[in-house]
């Protein structure tokens, strides 16, 4: 087994296969990493209900085996959760999680050598409050009656406790303001090949659909993770056929193109930029949640954006926001967490991306995709 190889695999444990998505491979791989002491701890989602799960760090194999798997309505982010913890850890990670973890690694808040990142294919996540409203308004079903959900062929399907399936196309939902979070719509990292091992159902074909996970090994740590799970008897794999690989490449391409279309749709040029930013930020209450949650910020209490800011300032736009715009120009990964937690619903991610899109395109730099240092760290003085 080596870096660059692809497999299709599943858990050998029947209960994990039944409960987990796509054959339970990720859950079993994480449990095996813990049991065989490849890592000290694992991050899992502890399910509260269909729309709520809380991320926890655990060393308990049973917690891992009983974890929630992935839920589309739980848009959590794990980079800050594992930062400054000094643990040898394995975790499942969407593309934006992986990017946040790598950025924390560059800032010495996460030791990437001790972090085993299991990337998850991600077409996008939904805010739970929006999902609940969407169920009532669009699907005409009570959120409490929902038993499960899945995305298939462009449709978001909810299964209710009576066994019925309710499907609406994602396009229709998003036209009405529901569906995926805005940042997920224009995200183009659908298969996280920046992780140690990328897993997901895209490319699983034939009888294995719904029962197996497609795996791409991206690093030596990825090799260790999968080999460890196989050796521990937790996971079985087989080589995918050419057709399966082609399907995976095609789906990835379609999803990335869709992301680019959304990006062009959302980021139309604006006139009177200063007034635009000032108006969007005028309701800010100085809570600091956007900084706290930002997966590329590792400053802690002493940071540029807060040191230059005072609530007694009467500037039309606070120094806090101005400094963050500059900071995030080459650091923003577009994960959407800041917009999620803003108490006055400022579309912060959109504002940060207004700065980040042109800067990152011109510098040909995508934060969180590799270990390249942020370009503004590498200022060259004229000789």
């Amino acid at each position: 087994m080596q870096k660059g190889e692809m497999y299709v695999g599943w858990s050998t444990k029947e209960d994990v296969r039944k409960r987990g998505g796509s054959g339970g491979l990720v859950t079993s791989m994480l449990a095996a990493a813990l049991e065989k002491k490849l890592v000290d701890a694992v991050v899992v989602l502890k399910k509260i209900n269909e729309f709520e799960a809380v991320p926890i760090i655990t060393s308990d194999v049973n917690e891992v085996l009983n974890s929630a798997g992935s839920l589309h309505s739980v848009p959590s982010h794990f980079a800050k959760l594992i930062a400054n913890r000094d643990l040898k850890i394995a975790l499942p990670a969407k593309g934006c999680d992986v990017r946040g973890i790598i950025e924390q690694g560059k800032r010495n808040a996460i030791n990437l050598d001790n972090t085993f990142i299991v990337g998850l294919n991600c077409g996008g996540s939904m805010h739970p409050a929006v999902t609940r409203e969407m169920l009532e308004v669009m699907y005409k079903i009570k959120p409490e009656d929902v038993h499960g959900e899945e995305i298939e062929k462009g449709k978001l399907i909810f299964e209710t406790k009576d066994g019925k399936e309710h499907a609406i196309t994602i396009d229709e939902l998003e036209e009405k303001g529901y569906g995926r979070r805005e940042s997920c719509r224009y995200c183009t990292i659908k298969v996280p090949n920046n992780s140690d091992i990328a897993c997901g159902n895209w490319g699983v074909t034939g009888d294995l659909v719904g029962k197996a996970t497609f795996v791409e090994i991206n690093s030596e740590k990825g090799v260790k993770l999968l080999q460890n799970a196989i050796d521990a008897g937790y996971v079985q794999v087989q080589k995918p056929d050419e057709k399966a690989v082609a399907i995976r490449v095609r789906i990835k391409g379609v999803m990335e193109d869709l992301g680019k279309k959304w990006k062009n749709k959302i980021f139309v040029p604006i006139d009177n930029r200063l007034e635009y930013f000032r108006k969007e930020l005028e309701h800010c209450i100085d809570c600091g949640a956007c900084k706290t949650v930002c997966p590329t910020c590792s400053c802690g209490d002493v940071s540029k954006c807060t040191e230059y800011h005072s609530r007694s300032d009467a500037y039309r736009m606070s120094m806090y926001h101005l400094v963050r715009f500059l900071h995030l120009a080459d650091a923003c990964i577009g994960c959407g967490q800041c917009s999620d937690v803003c108490p006055v619903d400022i579309p912060l991610t959109r504002l940060y991306r207004r700065f980040a899109n042109p800067v990152q395109e011109q510098l040909k730099y995508e934060p969180g995709m590799d270990m390249r240092k942020p370009p503004y760290f590498e200022v060259k003085l004229n000789e």
Partner: protein, 470 residues
């Protein structure tokens, strides 16, 4: 190793904001995005909760002890002073604890009710309108500063405005989200219809005549009215104590000053926020039972688990019942020691559910409350006669005694010019013989008004006449 993560409710006010508290060596706040009141979003106070939940130790006369010993000593001193003991809770704890507390307090309970308001207004004052109804309103009238006092209402107001609502603010300063800004002295300019919805604030320091005035405005125009409240379980406090005679904070201050009250027992309530220090110093004993950082020095501190570790029910402004995610009942056990009886959580919990007419605590289900009519009110709010005044805008930091980044006053450019204040300089504020010097921030505030969300120690209630100079 597995993280301890508690699903809980922010005690900053009665909005009912859900969050997680994560124990990771230090405490961390995590966002509970499925919470119906706030979608996981938190204000500046919510983000600072780890500071509020800094551990407190049980103490008797300055010496550290166990919670049991502290509660026993409190019980002994209370028994020896029967008739001169008062029990105070502002509603910062579970409904179950409040029910137990009443059994101890009997007729000497103070929950911060405003004096001299007719009983038929209590339901309107205490049980608010669902936030979804606010979002659907056509005309919203604010008698609060939502950004400062109840920040999580801002997104509901913006949502209403995006749907076409007009927002009028009757406030000391122009609010960015308001379409119409009216100064409190010009309230007669306010045009109300049956489609209007008034949002006001009701707290233990509220001016009775101002509350009556806003109730009368709503009554006369047939307008809906909702009050926001400052404590985690203000609504639960009212519902649990319904029908029980209570007194106001102003009466409590009077009784302590007269010397008829010797012992004050506070349950999860910091008395220094409401009662002047010179009054508190007249008590023989101050006893505080709490799970959070104290800014007041007490003779006895009965320190139990913080709110996030408690088991029990809170009821928010809307009347929504919310379960705390902890398992702790040591607060209830301590109250049992005071009462000389053991309180059973399960039976108290059943009583709580019965009191609000539900069979299960489900935060997504709104209990049904009667919207009781109240009679006509004669309000006699006096116009402000001071030339210049310092107006205290109470926010969660002030109610809990937690420090905030707010050591300044807000004033307008006319005041700056009239006093020839210097940019980056300060303003001298004089009241009742005391003078303080503070930084200032220029904002669209009413002429001759200074706004603060801080306690400077010169205040005499919400509005303090002051003299100002450079």
């Amino acid at each position: 190793m597995t993280d301890n993560v508690y699903s809980t409710i922010c005690p900053g006010c009665n909005f009912g904001c859900g969050l997680y508290i994560r124990e990771n060596g230090a405490l961390e706040v995590d966002f509970r995005k499925s919470s119906p009141a706030n979608s996981g979003k938190l204000c500046r106070f919510g983000m600072n909760l780890p500071k509020l939940f800094a551990p407190t130790k049980s103490m008797v006369d300055g010496k550290e002890t166990t919670i049991e010993e502290a509660a026993k000593e409190a019980a002994k001193r209370i028994a020896a002073s029967k008739g001169s003991v008062v029990f105070l809770s502002l509603g910062n704890t579970t409904s179950e604890e409040l029910l137990a507390f009443q059994k101890i307090a009997e007729s000497a309970l103070y929950t911060g009710a405003v004096a001299a308001l007719p009983e038929d207004t209590y339901q309107t004052l205490n049980i608010g309108i669902p936030y979804s109804e606010i979002e659907a309103a056509k005309h919203i009238v604010l008698f609060i500063d939502p950004y400062e006092q109840y920040p999580l209402i801002v997104r509901r107001l913006l949502s209403a405005r995006n749907k076409g609502a007009k927002i009028s603010a009757v406030w000391w300063k122009d609010l960015p989200l308001a379409d119409e800004n009216i100064r409190p002295g010009d309230v007669s300019k306010l045009a109300l219809t049956k489609d209007s919805l008034i949002i006001a604030d009701y707290n233990p320091l509220s001016d009775t005549e101002q509350v009556k005035n806003v109730l009368a405005l709503a009554k006369n125009a047939g307008t809906r009215i909702t009050f926001l409240k400052p404590f985690a379980n203000s609504t639960g406090g009212y519902l649990m104590a319904k029908g029980i005679k209570q007194k106001s904070i102003s009466q409590l201050v009077e009784d302590i000053n007269k010397g008829t009250i010797k012992i004050l027992f506070c349950l999860e309530s910091d008395p220094s926020v409401l009662i002047p220090s010179e009054t508190l110093s007249k008590l023989t004993y101050l006893i505080i039972q709490t799970g959070q950082t104290l800014s007041t020095k007490a003779n006895i501190v009965i320190a139990h688990e913080p709110l996030y570790k408690k088991k029990g029910t809170l009821i928010n402004n809307e009347g929504r019942a919310q379960a705390l995610g902890g398992t702790g009942t040591s607060g209830l056990d301590a109250l049992g020691i005071i009462a000389g009886a053991k309180f059973d959580f399960d039976s108290l919990h059943e009583s709580v559910k019965k009191a609000i007419g539900i069979t299960v605590v489900d935060e997504f289900m709104m209990p049904k409350y009667e919207r009781l009519e109240y009679g006509a009110l004669q309000a006699s709010a006096k116009p402000m006669d001071a030339k210049t005044a310092l107006v205290s805008v109470y926010n969660p930091f002030m109610w809990s005694g937690l420090a905030d980044d707010n050591d300044f006053v807000e004033l307008n450019l006319n005041t700056v010019k009239a006093l020839k204040l210097l940019k980056g300089g300060s303003i001298r504020i004089k009241s009742n013989g005391s003078t303080i010097e503070k930084k200032f921030k220029v904002a669209p505030v009413q002429d001759n008004i200074l706004l603060t969300s801080n306690k400077f120690g010169i205040e005499k209630g919400i509005i303090t006449p002051v003299e100002v100079s450079r």
